[in-house]
């Protein structure tokens, strides 16, 4: 009969039913089975048996685990661990504190790295999307802006790809009170095939197919109409530069793009409109105005890369400049790996991520080593307990298990406390570091990973104390509480403390240099007077023709020392690059030069000195229209002496060089100074003046601004906007600011962990050596002798750690500084504060404990048994 029953069903019963109920259950089920077998087919009876067995689970007869020996044992470990921790409160809290700080920092760094790596990942097809870049095949320099022909040629040559271009344009949206929108792009109909956005209304597949189609984001839609239910409505789109007006049909409303993507926009217009607008201009390879992306299924990007040389030859032929190339950048790299691309504003940086990950691991390492060190030290005081356990028959395994249970409890406790601490501090940290970290980015899987990792780390750090405890022979354990060598500074402990010193010194030195560099960038003399300089952007086209009058009006205001109108903001974008050549240059391809539209007041206001020649005399006139002022950098690249009062061809027109000005930084220090040509333009061009700069009395700002605003409103209906130039430059270093602040914060945490650890360690050692100290004191040793006695080993370890840390941090810093066009040089003295801080902290910790020890009566200590 038993053979008719599947074996596993019986086993299942045995597993899920407590032994005292097993016979009853199995017996009854078998009896029923025998009865069923007579009434129905064997198979059916068997099925019924299995069903009854599987549904036999009842709470009351589940096997109870408390009867298992091992569980009882673990319960006792748990209890002992808690009791022990409570008994030695200060030592335990030092251990938990160290772990908490370390794990909090590690968690924060992990969260940061995780958030950064998630960037752009909401786009489902991102794995197969590439950004097309213009690439200089000789220098490797990459440029984001491409001509619209790139995409068309690629699509024609490689039919398997799909291509999407997006070209920025300044537009005015709506008829009454139009909104000036900078985040407007002309986009191909493939846009929503490549990129994933959430639609509120409209069809992602067809919304950009037709001419005169526009897709709005939720926030813009709310701003324009006060509702999102505007699908199918027609709205007026006026192109700012050309004054063309399109009545456009709203074919889609999407949720605002998440902040974690580099594809940012507020409105998209269909590409056919741009074709109508720009006409033949779009059919030239030289007119770079779009960003191009391609999607290649099945990883066929290599085919595309291989075919590029052929493509260039086919489409450009001999016209192609020698160094002309096309590059492809993986979509997910756009954010992290674009530092070399001019005008890049993404804060991502693979290097910084790597540096942070390494620092995170170092901090984790020192906090774990710290725990191990303290745990082994403390375990010595527990030798008696362990000895008795062993004598009573506990095996090595049980002793090991005890320590692992303890360390797991500590890491879990410290970890959870640390994570909670980070979560509580997250808003403050976000403000401090100017990042937007969100906990929501962690999935359930991430959280379980963190939990398992904590368990694993607990296991890891429990092993060493356990192994050490097992090595001690049990007789000596029960007899004396403090055994021999372990009380001294054994090699592993020296090593661990050495590593802590190493990391701390290295971080201190690096922090110092990184902050030096940040300050250097921030306070660098830009070559012009950026103090008290107020910037007013002129986004209103009609306003540009009135700039002369508004200048005069504003200058009348008390507290305005001077005013100038220019085509470039400060820091500048330098978007207008023209060809540069001169008679007898012998150049095959013309050089390029950046154009800055100015007026005659510009140089005086910014306090820029002339090396040679003179300023423009008047506003726009026939004379100034054929004149140009160059900077020293431009003088350097034009091989013509003397240059003053000579002709150069700029943008296909001859101009007379009337002056040469000193170099100054009109961009942030990430880039070197470029050759510049200053000219005066009438209103209506891309290079025309559309910024006002005012030298103002900053003491009287609250009084001054309303007056400026009133004057502005006499001329324009646009809102009055302003900012200070030195603020804007400081803003350009926000990435460096964040980096140095983060590094600084982690250094402080690393030092805290090391201090906490050393504090616990020294306190322990002083206790062990209390008798020795007392005897020496009776024999006449003073505090200095005792300090020497206790710090001798530590200082040795410290020196070795410092010797290792110095060259490594030097190498790292040299690499890091190489990223900057302008950087500080590493000076020798920067090692001093790091070393001094470590040394002074260590010695004062020792001294503190010594002080406490010497307060005891030595004769009492010695007579203690």
């Amino acid at each position: 009969m038993a053979k008719d029953i599947p074996n596993w069903a019986m086993k299942f019963l045995k597993l899920t039913c407590a032994p005292q109920h097993l016979d009853e259950l199995q017996g009854d089920l078998l009896e029923l089975f025998v009865r069923d077998k007579e009434e129905m087919s064997l198979n059916k009876a068997r099925r019924k048996f299995i069903w009854r067995a599987l549904s036999s689970l009842r709470w009351y007869r589940l096997p109870r685990f408390e009867h298992l020996h091992a569980i009882t044992l673990y319960k006792s470990f748990y209890k002992v661990a808690i009791r022990h921790a409570l008994k030695h409160r200060s030592a335990s809290s030092i251990q938990v504190l160290g772990l908490m700080l370390g794990l909090a920092a590690t968690f924060y760094i992990g969260l940061f790295v995780h958030n950064e790596l998630q960037y752009d990942h909401m786009h489902e097809r991102g794995d197969h999307i590439y950004r097309v870049l213009r690439q200089n095949t000789q220098t490797g320099a990459r440029v984001e802006a491409t001509s619209s022909l790139y995409g068309e040629a690629l699509e024609k040559e490689f039919p398997f790809i799909s291509m999407c271009r997006m070209g920025n344009d300044l537009v005015k949206l709506g008829e009454i009170n139009p909104i000036l929108e900078k985040e407007f792009y002309w986009a191909d109909s493939t846009f929503f095939d490549l990129f994933s956005f959430q639609f509120i209304h409209g069809d992602p597949r067809t919304c950009l197919d037709e001419i005169n189609s526009i897709v709005l984001t939720q926030s813009l839609c709310q701003q324009l109409f006060g509702t999102v239910d505007v699908l199918g409505k027609t709205m007026q789109v006026k192109v700012y530069d050309s004054d063309d007006v399109f009545p456009m049909n709203i074919t889609g409303i999407i949720k605002d793009p998440p902040t974690q993507t580099h594809i940012q926009f507020r409105a998209l217009g269909s590409m056919p409109n741009a074709k109508e607008l720009y006409g033949n201009l779009l059919n030239t390879w030289g007119f770079s105005w779009v960003r191009t992306y391609i999607y290649t299924p099945e990883n066929r990007i290599q085919e595309v890369r291989d075919g590029i040389a052929q493509l260039i030859l086919k489409y450009l032929g001999d016209q192609a400049p020698k160094n002309f190339g096309i590059g492809f950048q993986a979509f997910y790299d756009v954010y992290h790996d674009s530092q070399d691309i001019d005008g890049n504003t993404f804060k991502g940086s693979k290097k910084n991520l790597a540096i942070f990950s390494i620092i995170g691991m170092l901090i984790l390492l020192i906090s774990l080593l710290n725990y191990i060190n303290l745990a082994t030290a403390r375990s010595i005081t527990r030798a008696k307990e362990v000895g008795i356990r062993k004598v009573l028959g506990a095996q090595k395994r049980a002793v090991t298990a005890q320590f692992i249970v303890e360390s797991t409890l500590f890491t879990l406790g410290g970890g959870i406390a640390g994570i909670l601490l980070t979560i509580i501090c997250l808003p403050a940290l976000n403000r401090l570091f100017q990042i937007d970290l969100k906990l929501a980015s962690l999935s359930l899987l991430n959280w379980s990973f963190i939990f398992v990792l904590l368990l694993f780390l607990g296991f890891l750090v429990g092993i060493l104390p356990a192994v050490m405890m097992n090595k001690i022979p049990r007789i000596s354990q029960t007899k004396t509480a403090i055994p021999f060598k372990t009380a001294q500074w054994p090699f592993t402990r020296k090593l661990f403390i050495g590593i802590q010193y190493f990391v701390t010194i290295g971080l201190l030195i690096s922090t110092l240099v990184i902050f030096q560099q940040y300050n250097y960038l921030k306070n660098y003399n830009l070559g012009f007077d950026s103090q008290q300089l107020l910037h007013i952007p002129v986004d209103d086209r009609n306003m540009q023709s009135h700039l002369m009058s508004i200048k005069t009006e504003m200058k009348k205001i008390n507290g305005v020392y001077g005013i100038t109108a220019t085509g470039e903001n400060l820091p500048s974008e330098l978007n207008n690059t023209w060809d540069l050549n001169w008679d007898g240059s012998g150049l095959e391809n013309p050089l390029s030069i950046d154009i800055v539209g100015v007026d005659k007041d510009y140089f005086k206001l910014l306090d820029i000195d002339f090396v040679e020649g003179k300023n423009f005399l008047l506003g726009y006139d026939r004379d100034s229209a054929s004149s140009v002022i160059l900077n020293e950098k431009a003088q350097d690249i034009i091989e013509k002496t003397p240059l003053l009062n000579q002709q150069v061809h700029i943008g296909g027109k001859n101009r007379n060089v009337i002056g040469i000005v000193k170099n100054y930084h009109n961009k942030s220090l990430h880039t070197e100074i470029r050759p510049l040509a200053y000219m005066i333009f009438p209103p209506g061009f891309r290079v025309s003046a559309d910024n006002l700069f005012l030298k103002v009395d900053t003491k009287d700002i609250p009084n001054l601004l309303p007056q400026l605003k009133a004057t502005w409103q006499d001329f324009s209906t646009e809102p009055f906007k302003y900012n200070f130039v030195d603020d804007a430059f400081a803003q350009a270093y926000s990435l460096e600011r964040r980096f140095s602040f983060l590094i600084g914060a982690f250094t402080i945490i690393a030092i805290s962990i090391a201090v906490v650890g050393l504090f616990g360690m020294v306190s322990f050692i002083v206790q062990l050596k209390l008798k020795e100290i007392s005897i020496r004191r009776i024999l006449g040793a003073n505090a200095v002798h005792l300090l020497q006695l206790l710090s001798r080993d530590m200082v040795g370890v410290f020196i070795i750690a410092a010797i290792c840390a110095l060259p490594l941090s030097y190498l790292f810093l040299k690499q890091w500084l190489a990223n900057f066009a302008y950087s500080v040089s590493i000076q020798g003295w920067v090692v001093l504060p790091g070393i001094l801080i470590c040394l002074v902290l260590s010695l004062s910790i020792i001294f503190f404990h010594l002080q406490r020890a010497t307060r005891l009566n030595p004769s009492e200590v010695i007579s203690r048994e």
Binding site: M1, H21, G27, L30, R52, S55, S56
Partner: protein, 110 residues
């Protein structure tokens, strides 16, 4: 008392254990209930009810004889005890009391 309250199904099982008088174990109880009330109850439900009654102290059990049809596994035989009898009587009296309180003409118009 919450702990010794007799549920409806428990009362039924307790009665059946009494009826079977020394021959009550999982299967016989299940069969008896099916025969007299038509209720089809799974064997595991019977087991847990019996265990609950035993815990409440209304029945006692001992390990009984094994048979080849049971694959050599012994039965657990349940017997009603004095407390169980009291509980049954109490339930019966309570019920009769309530029956007597019903208005006499309640069913006459049926």
């Amino acid at each position: 008392m919450k702990g010794t309250h007799l549920g409806e199904f428990e009362e039924l099982v307790l009665l059946v254990v009494g009826i079977l008088n020394g021959n009550a174990y999982g299967i016989t109880v299940m069969d008896e209930i099916k025969q007299h009330t038509g209720r089809k109850v799974s064997i595991s439900t019977i087991h847990s009810t019996l265990a609950r009654l035993e815990k409440k102290g209304f029945i006692e059990s001992h390990v009984g004889g094994a048979s080849p049809t049971r694959g050599g596994r012994s039965k657990r035989i349940y017997k009603i005890n004095a407390e169980g009898q009291q509980a049954l009587e109490k339930a019966k009296i309570q019920r009769e009391k309530l029956w007597n309180l019903l208005p006499k003409n309640l069913f006459s118009h049926g």
